[in-house]
Amino acid sequence: MTETRRRRLAFLALGALLPLELLVAASLGSVPLPALGVVRSLLAGLGLGTSPLGETGEVILWSVRLPRVLLAALVGGGLALVGAALQSLFRNPLADAGLLGVGPGAALGAVLAVSFGWAHERFLALTLAAGVGAFAALLLIYALAHLGGRPSLQGLLLTGLAVGALAAAATAVLLVAIEEQRVRAVLFWLAGGLEGRGWEHAAIAGTFVLGGGAALGLLARPLDVLSLGEEEAAALSLPVHATRLAVFGLCALIAGPVTAVAGAVPFVGLVAPHALRPLVGPVSRHLLPASFLAGAALVVLADLAARSFGVHVELPLGSVTAFVGAPYFLIALRTQEGRG
């Protein structure tokens, strides 16, 4: 099969899979809705015909299921985009959003919101605090890394690790100090999940993921040039430092809000680009959109599993992606060690 044909097939399959998954995920749940009814209700929402779902069904679909499945798609797509972009940036197929130091920063913000009681008093307070924590960590990392002039990528990574460790330590101290019933709220958030998320969360994620993703798309070619190595990129007239800064910043702009909304959802950013690279190739123009679609499909499915297989409570989404992602990752490491 030629490369172009393989790529087209991959896009076709992903393009068909994602809407199908969204439909199934919107239909299934503790109160199942007929798939056809869901389609007709969606069309009715666009002003075409009338919905056959009853009042309860309408509420479940439009207030609970739809925002949740769309949010799942945005979270997965965003994390996969960030993974693919960072892998080109760091020229390492094992890079993902975890490298940005966003996770520990967001966790600290979330724990602070809970320990001060904001999370109980104000709607979205936990999400906003997590978002602020993520950006504060990023700013701190970038400021610290720049103290001694322009940092190398390695310097940036190590600074991220150190700041992340500090944030994690502070989080642990706060967790120990918080009242017991509040710890549960934090633990749920830390484990990653989309339970109880509504349109507000989907709007936050949508703004940053789609906006940041579009901007990353404009940087697709510079990313490819950057993946050739710093010197060759500079010799090809790419402003290396500014491009890195832009990619890094956009990845943070996507990963920060996604983490704030969904908590930790590991491995999506690693698995989606890794699985797609052999199919669509490493060129960003193809890899970025394909990773977005694959990441979205992965998390919609994982979220469906999280709320289907739990007994009494939902499984944490982050655990589901890790249960699938970690073994995939281990197998991939063993079978194609060293191949980007």
């Binding site: 070619r221 993946s227 010197e231 010799a235 007239s237 190739g281 490493p282 191949r339 980007g340």
Partner: protein
């Protein structure tokens, strides 16, 4: 012949150390200059300064008569291409896609891939004789094939000046011959070619001119055979150098020995 690139009184510092000192050099269209010298003489530094990757502490680099700082970075990269010793691109990247990135200085981040770009890439693949490898991922190529693919990326830039840093260092003898033949054809096409070459007999037979870099300064330059047999070259490398003509052409047999 027009001067494609020249350096006047160029000094370059790296990490607080002066690596190049008062270098004067010029390169004309259709010339093949072999840059030779012992390790750490500053050869790679000179190449990087020529393409504007390293700033001049003193003196200047002129591209087509104009100071390199007076050109935009993209304009420099459309005129001067640098081909490194090793290819470090992602192994899954196809040869043709890799070569197409050589069009970046012409396209920038957003301009579409035009028929002119396509033609330049095809021509580069053909001249480097890697057309048959166009759709192969880089990771599946031999070291020699990768080096030729890297050369094709440089050619796709359609530069007036082609700079190569030890382009044959990892190649077996067949690929070496192939590479230098390709470089000779590129030169005949009117491109100014400057290559750092460690294999001195190869440098002498391929180049139209040779420059010896020693301790950051040009110790000798001119006709390759005369330069290589000069006392300056002998001093730079710390060896005795002699040669005898073989047959009627410029082919010579070289003999290197420890200096008495």
């Amino acid at each position: 012949m027009t001067v494609a690139i020249e350096v006047r009184g160029l000094s370059v510092e790296r990490g607080g150390r002066t690596v190049l000192r008062g270098v004067d050099l010029e390169l004309r269209a259709g010339e093949a200059l072999a840059l030779v010298g012992p390790n750490a003489a500053g050869k790679s530094t000179l190449l990087r300064a020529l393409v504007g990757l390293l700033p001049a502490a003193q003196g200047e680099v002129r591209v087509e008569g104009r100071p390199i700082g007076g050109w935009s970075r993209a304009a420099v990269a459309r005129r001067v291409a640098l081909v490194a010793a090793e290819d470090d691109a992602p192994p899954r990247l196809a040869v043709a896609d890799r070569v197409a990135l050589g069009r970046y200085p012409h396209r920038g981040p957003l301009r579409r891939f035009t028929p002119a770009d396509r033609a330049a890439v095809d021509r580069a693949l053909r001249r480097a004789e890697v057309e048959h490898l166009a759709r192969r991922p880089l990771g599946t190529l031999s070291a020699g094939e990768r080096q030729l693919a890297l050369l094709a990326r440089g050619l796709a830039q359609e530069p007036a000046v082609l700079l190569l840093d030890e382009p044959a260092s990892h190649l077996d003898i067949r690929h070496q011959l192939h590479l230098f033949r390709v470089l000779d054809e590129v030169r005949r096409g009117g491109v100014a070619v400057l290559a750092v070459v460690h294999d001195l007999p190869r440098a002498a037979s391929w180049a139209t001119r040779m420059a010896v870099l020693d301790g950051g300064t040009i110790a000798a330059q001119g006709d390759p055979i005369a330069v290589l047999e000069s006392e300056a070259a002998s001093r730079a490398f710390g060896v005795g150098i002699q040669s005898v003509a073989v047959g009627e052409g410029r082919e010579r047999l070289w003999r290197f020995g420890e200096r008495a």
